[in-house]
């Protein structure tokens, strides 16, 4: 077996372990297992990083061509973003919401990892890679923003209803969650903007027009619009806390739903794999 496949399997296993440990932490309502889980997640992320590096250096692997690789990349960015926040804020148990998402993405990804790749001519170009990478990182940041929003809503509800259960202690503070949401939007919107721009330029060179009325294009533009508006409201109007958390979650659910509809009923020029 290739060393990179081994690294990939290792990462998958470690993601599973960290997810289970996080869930255990929630079940017994103690933060100490979450601490361990964070280290396991760090290990998983490291293995995953090594996998990307090894595959890229060894075989010139490009993770942006097949849905399986894209999911794996998306999961990797989510885990990385979460761990970066973990360094700055005491958000340990937030991992209990991030880690399962990452693991599920990895499971779906693992079904087809390492399979044959046929790259259509139209996708050969550095700009495509940049387009995909920036867009995916932006969207992964939105995913983390939404997870933070979800936990914010739970914590906000507990404090408002004066349910001073042990969960209140477990979850990060409202302000920390709000800050995560804020920072994710602050970075996510410009990255997705650049990603979309890169894609448009590429589309113009191959198809002659930036806009194809492609379902994926429409979807991405919707996502971009929603989060750009959210960021605008945050920065200009001063929306904070409950409302932004609610909207982040709603936006993400909406986007997931449209993505599913799009995947099931429409063909797209983005579906090359």
């Amino acid at each position: 077996m290739d060393i990179d496949i081994l690294l990939y399997r290792g990462a998958l296993l470690a993601y599973l372990l960290s997810t289970l440990t996080y869930i255990f932490s929630l079940l017994i309502r103690r933060v100490s297992p979450a601490r361990v889980a964070t280290w396991i997640l760090t290990g998983a992320f490291a293995l995953h990083t090594l996998f990307f590096l090894g595959a890229w250096l060894g075989k010139g692997y490009n993770p942006f061509l097949r849905i399986h690789d894209i999911l794996s990349f998306f999961a990797w960015v989510m885990a990385g973003v979460y761990l970066a926040f973990q360094l700055r804020t005491k958000t340990r148990v937030l991992g209990a919401f991030v880690s399962p998402v990452v693991f599920v993405l990895m499971i779906i990804s693992s079904i087809g990892i390492g399979g044959p790749i046929t790259v259509p001519e139209v996708l050969k170009g550095g700009l495509v890679t940049i387009h995909a990478m920036l867009s995916l990182i932006g969207e992964a940041l939105f995913a983390v923003a939404s997870v933070a929003g979800l936990v914010y809503l739970i914590q906000d509800g507990l404090i408002k209803r004066r349910k001073f259960s042990k969960f209140i202690k477990l979850f990060p503070s409202l302000q920390d969650l709000d800050r995560i949401n804020h920072i994710c939007l602050l970075w996510g919107v410009p990255l997705l903007t650049l990603g979309v721009l890169a894609g448009s330029i590429w589309a113009r060179t191959v198809w002659g027009s930036i806009w194809q009325w492609d379902p994926k294009q429409i979807w991405t533009l919707t996502a971009w619009l929603i989060y750009a508006v959210l960021l605008h409201q945050r920065l200009a109007i001063g929306w904070k806390g409950h409302k932004t958390a609610l909207l982040s979650v709603a936006a993400f659910v909406l986007l997931l739903a449209t993505l599913l509809v799009e995947k099931s009923f429409f063909t797209t020029i983005h579906r090359f794999y």
């Binding site: 914590q155 404090i159 408002k160 004066r162 503070s173 409202l174 904070k240 806390g241 409950h242």
Partner: protein, 426 residues
């Protein structure tokens, strides 16, 4: 092991007697020298806090040390003996060990889990060491007690839930804001509880206190106490824009902060989170304000509920603590039991070594004729035989000491081998 613990605490002694003790405790009185002077007392520890007075001593058997220790307490309590005798408890050996562990771990405290008691036990031990009243038994026992206290603190939630109203407010603030660093607090009206809460908030990183009072002079005076800023009572809206936490406790009949006021303020402060604490009765803040997004409103009853719930949690955690204490007390007793075996084994080995030396000297006459290597061979043989013979009894002793029944074997071995010298078995 002849450990005895005599004392009284907040559960057994009424407040009048505890007052007497508290006088003794503030005078810094320490009767260790007196205790040590009692015949039959080997080692002693004297613990006095405002909620308890306890003497832990290792005594010799068949002495009236216990009565004399009680007398000492009666004398210093300065009350009728019958009154005080009812308040006393006496624990022996394993019960005394467990009690000491419970005290050190704050399971026996008035507010269970409060952290001061461990420091007080440490101080009492330091005094015992200074007065040369602590020996091998108490040294080990106290160090074990400190370890038990630390284990219970980290392994159970005994100390991790706020059980006072003002600490509950601090904990809530932390759950909302994460850190209290840089957070501004507005204190409306005066009151012991609100000032205590404000002090706690400051202690945990709160940045600045603003003080509003219907009489402005009072506000200025209180602001000086907190090194804060007095603000205008009639323009509370302006202050509300700046602050993050509001503690209100005025004697006003109506609402000081209305729903509309807070809703308007929140827009002006760009929806920054606002934590309102209303400890006034009747209430100062319109309860509907708690429905506004990003506003968290708690009143006195809510905070008291949290404190009460947390006390229940602590009680539950205390049960886990008791398990740790039982296990650790057993471990200490196990150690104590080996302690009596160890000197026995040492003297047994010494006696055997002495016999070998003596017999080799006696046979020196013919041993001299042997070659160097052969003489060494004979010595090795003699040592080997003796060691083989002693090996099983010594193993048996060590094993029995684990079972706690070593004392009888120790006695038998000492008698059979005459380890206590000629006539020592009488």
């Amino acid at each position: 092991m002849n450990l005895i613990l005599i004392g009284m605490n907040h559960k057994t002694a009424p407040v009048e007697i505890r007052e007497r003790l508290s006088i003794a405790c503030t005078e810094g009185f320490n009767p260790l020298d007196e205790i040590k002077a009692i015949p039959g007392v080997g080692e002693a520890l004297y613990l006095s806090t405002c909620n308890r007075v306890e003497i832990l001593a290792r005594t010799q058997e068949d002495t009236d040390a216990e009565e004399r220790l009680k007398d000492l307490i009666f004398r210093h309590g300065n009350l009728r003996e019958e009154d005080m005798a009812r308040c006393l408890y006496v624990y022996r050996d394993s019960a005394a060990i467990r009690h000491l562990f419970r005290v050190a771990a704050s399971l026996d405290s008035l507010i269970m889990g409060e952290p001061q008691i461990l420091g007080q036990v440490k101080e009492a031990y330091r005094l015992a060491v200074d007065h040369q009243a602590a020996g091998i038994i108490l040294n080990k026992l106290l160090h074990r007690a400190f370890r038990v206290a630390k284990r219970i603190r980290t392994e159970t939630g005994i100390a991790s839930h706020a059980v006072s109203v003002s600490y509950a407010a601090v904990e809530l603030a932390k759950k909302i804001f994460g850190t209290l660093k840089g957070k501004k607090v507005l204190l409306i009206g005066a009151g012991e509880m609100s000032e205590l809460a404000a002090r706690h908030l400051l202690k945990h990183g709160g940045d600045r206190i603003f003080v509003a009072n219907r009489t402005h002079e009072r506000a200025i005076q209180m602001a000086a106490d907190f090194q804060g800023v007095p603000v205008d009572f009639d323009h509370l809206g302006d202050s509300l824009r700046e602050v993050d936490i509001v503690i209100s406790s005025t004697g006003a009949a109506g609402y000081i902060l209305t729903y509309d006021m807070i809703a308007a303020v929140l827009k002006r402060r760009k929806n920054r989170l606002l934590f309102l604490i209303d400890i006034a009765v009747p209430r100062d803040i319109d309860p509907r304000a708690g429905d506004i997004d990003n506003v968290y409103l708690y009143n006195m009853d809510n905070l008291q509920d949290i404190a009460d719930d947390n006390m229940q949690i602590r009680k539950g955690e205390a049960e886990k603590g008791e398990l740790i204490i039982a296990a650790e007390a057993d471990r200490y007793i196990e150690w104590f039991n080996t302690l009596t075996v160890v000197p026995t084994i040492v003297s047994l080995k010494e006696k055997a070594a002495g016999i070998i030396r003596l017999e080799l000297e006696r046979s020196n006459g013919w041993l001299r004729n042997l070659r160097e290597e052969d003489r060494e061979g004979v010595e090795i043989l003699a040592n080997a035989i003796v060691n083989k013979i002693l090996h099983d009894p010594m193993t048996c002793l060590k094993e029995e000491s684990q079972e706690g029944s070593a004392l009888a074997y120790v006695a038998a071995i000492r008698r059979l081998f005459r380890l206590d010298g000629p006539g020592g078995n009488e």
